[in-house]
Symmetry: D2
Subunit: 282 residues, 4 copies
Amino acid sequence: MRYKLGCSLSYQLAFDTTFIFNLEVAQIPSQTIVSEALSFTPAVQPRVYADPMAANRYFGIEVPAGDFALEYNAEVDLHAFHADPATIDEIPVNQIPLDILPYLLPSRFVSSDRLAPYALAEFGALPRGHQRVNAICGWINEHLVYQPGASNEQTTADETLMKRAGVCRDFAHLGIAFCRALGIPARFVSCYAYGLVPSDFHAVFEAYLGGRWWLFDATRQAQLDGLVRIGIGRDAAEIAFSTPFGNFAATGMEVRIARADGVQDPGPRTVDAISTDDGRAL
Amino acid sequence: MRYKLGCSLSYQLAFDTTFIFNLEVAQIPSQTIVSEALSFTPAVQPRVYADPMAANRYFGIEVPAGDFALEYNAEVDLHAFHADPATIDEIPVNQIPLDILPYLLPSRFVSSDRLAPYALAEFGALPRGHQRVNAICGWINEHLVYQPGASNEQTTADETLMKRAGVCRDFAHLGIAFCRALGIPARFVSCYAYGLVPSDFHAVFEAYLGGRWWLFDATRQAQLDGLVRIGIGRDAAEIAFSTPFGNFAATGMEVRIARADGVQDPGPRTVDAISTDDGRAL
Amino acid sequence: MRYKLGCSLSYQLAFDTTFIFNLEVAQIPSQTIVSEALSFTPAVQPRVYADPMAANRYFGIEVPAGDFALEYNAEVDLHAFHADPATIDEIPVNQIPLDILPYLLPSRFVSSDRLAPYALAEFGALPRGHQRVNAICGWINEHLVYQPGASNEQTTADETLMKRAGVCRDFAHLGIAFCRALGIPARFVSCYAYGLVPSDFHAVFEAYLGGRWWLFDATRQAQLDGLVRIGIGRDAAEIAFSTPFGNFAATGMEVRIARADGVQDPGPRTVDAISTDDGRAL
Amino acid sequence: MRYKLGCSLSYQLAFDTTFIFNLEVAQIPSQTIVSEALSFTPAVQPRVYADPMAANRYFGIEVPAGDFALEYNAEVDLHAFHADPATIDEIPVNQIPLDILPYLLPSRFVSSDRLAPYALAEFGALPRGHQRVNAICGWINEHLVYQPGASNEQTTADETLMKRAGVCRDFAHLGIAFCRALGIPARFVSCYAYGLVPSDFHAVFEAYLGGRWWLFDATRQAQLDGLVRIGIGRDAAEIAFSTPFGNFAATGMEVRIARADGVQDPGPRTVDAISTDDGRAL
């Protein structure tokens, strides 16, 4: 499916400010970038970096004090891989590729070590495979309230479990934490999400099952086969769409994605297992 | 300088257990591995993985229930780079290479976001450069007690600051947290440490200054120019010398390092700035 | 029922040490103290204090360096009040006596404010009254493992919920926290517990329902009608059996309680609601 | 000195709501209440309770949905006791009256147990007595920023130390925590504070030294001899000026205090030690 997507961000800066952004579509086999444009007002010259492992694309800019606007637009063919969830098993820990080890370990917002007893008690006995991670998402969706303002940029997965509330970022962190605590590699995914209302940057997660990474959304808000990946990381810290160094005020933000063919109805959500990686560990 | 080093580890396992180890000397330009041997009793076949970015060498083994022993020995030429600390400046955030970004972000045990107000208040006004990081190490050394048992495997940098006590791992996490909070990239380093008494795996940290990574030891116990690197990581989670999946009892552990020429006196500690990277970001 | 009970404690002290103890049986209408003896070796002169509100009896002693032993024995008639749980309702918050307010508020180890969302989600819709608090105890008993060593003297109710493990103190703190979060006054009770195996100081809790305080034991280990009260408090901090100021080593501890008539079989546990207060708020 | 003081509070309530207030002047020997009036619009009938130990006056009201206003006015003669700080010593722990024990223990927001290593390291070697507590206040005032919004109603003393920012409540909690960690009984005091700009309910603390409770204000904003006490407690939880049970919106709040003689200049702050208790432990 081809999507038109992008974002428009604007800031007011009291001082010259360094920003690092991660909002461009990842260049991975399942995402063909048909066209793409990034512009700045006033014009600044970005430094760019693409992580050779994760395929995340970062750019850093030095913005002078005053008003600043950024515009990104892209047209992307998304080739989501579908499979029957019942066919997807977990991988014994002694067969998990070693380069995936980081995604089994706790990270800043994914306190899987603290949550291990809880995860084992709630999910330890469930049937394994894609269905277990799906059950985790169902549990989170049932037990947590989606509530903007319930969390902040330092909120960890164990705090979210206690507060029983959060936003997509928190839902993803908790899902990842439960998975890692159970020995299932899991990682954070930022994306443009077709069908998300209201439109915004979205956060979901991937679990490594049966030899590839599968997408999950504990908020149940997104179309899993309509997620255009921006970045992957241990947790939200690594792939914030914007990492500013300095004081700033965000004065505008619009995130958009639509089908390129103009069809507007997102339709029912798929019940397939969905993957956008190419079957290699990455 | 040439060092003979290694370790002998033994375990008693109630069940078949998967281990991932990271205890071999890193293959980096500053470390020439003259000879090296790794053996297991009973014999098992390791899976190996070397992180292409960090040069960490991991191996995973599946160990049957019963007694298990691991022996590693190596002879290594260490080419430590020396410089005058006064010549080493901090790098403005807009010039920090983007691939170093992860080492500016908070991680599981390096709660640099929580510690930002504290770091700015204590160290924000200090003269910049190698001397600022050295002053941070001095502050930690003065304010914390080195005390085995004061921390556990979930202890974070902010908890260490509150407890005013910890081991090398905790001293390193706190030093890294203060650096990151001040905009100085910093990372965790595990190593064989010449002159450390009693001998053990040691943890220090590196800060990225003036275009390369410089070694710091907030415990002041190690010879900075006698540190043979095993691994680097965001924090201790990534480069535990042993990550076991299962129940086990450690029944023995010896870590050793000596000068290959037989000279035993470690001598006074260097006052130079020491680096073992080759001037590239890695 | 008449009980013989007491304790023998011994310590080794490197320096002169001040202790405050709270281990004597509370003088309340439901507990008739037939005889009682407290002795110290070497002899020291206690300062005594009985809290006029809570009836807790404290004594402070200044113990010289060296070996120290304390022996307490009492014979007590316990008049436990029985009722049908189905007849005991919760009290609307606007009718709760104001002197009970402290037992609705969070305290050091009873983080009822942090646990409010969790408590409301799990227990908010349950039928009210004695049965709701009993259901909370059942939930705790089912979801937590009784595990000495899982907690320490700083462990809070929210941490216990996360760890899914603890001892009687932790089970009581969590029960109290859930109650307070639901608007049910609750307080910590230390006691001699008939039928507890192995014998030890025990911790349970009381909830204020229908005009008096009712006993609950989330560990399900005690005979509710065989609990001889020592002290009540907001949480364990207030009624530690021993609050030492100084360094010490505990070298011996025995806690005992038996029926005065010599009958040894504790028999089945009561299913009645049990209270040992006299129907006043205290 | 005679003061006119009071407050006007207004609320908008979606539902019938129970409130417990603690905002009337405490009836203690050092405070002669010349006149006093409390009124509600619409009229409601309060339940009242005066804590026999702490002298805190609570009233509970059941307010119907809609707009609600409360007005309190009093004229009070304050007899502050002055002394030379240099004459006021700390009391050895074995001489502290046992009824003061609760004020040595950690409480919900006063995590003195967690802060013990920090307190001992920073203040353990300071000269003892009133001057040590004053030095603690000076340290807090120097190291923390007074910053509305930096904390919330669940913020604890250890979090405040880490954030290096807070409001009067947080400054008091941290001062109390340091004192308790050092073996100095300390408690939270809510008050009308003459000279405070802008006028508001204020929080300070008392430390028990030389046989009575002495006032301290780590914010250095109040006139110590112009503090008219409302309540005392282990921490803010016990003596919130308003404890609501239900949803509400505060629509107005004015707190006022002025000298009854009309003199407006608060003048320089006293350097005396100030106490408003009568030399008994309470």
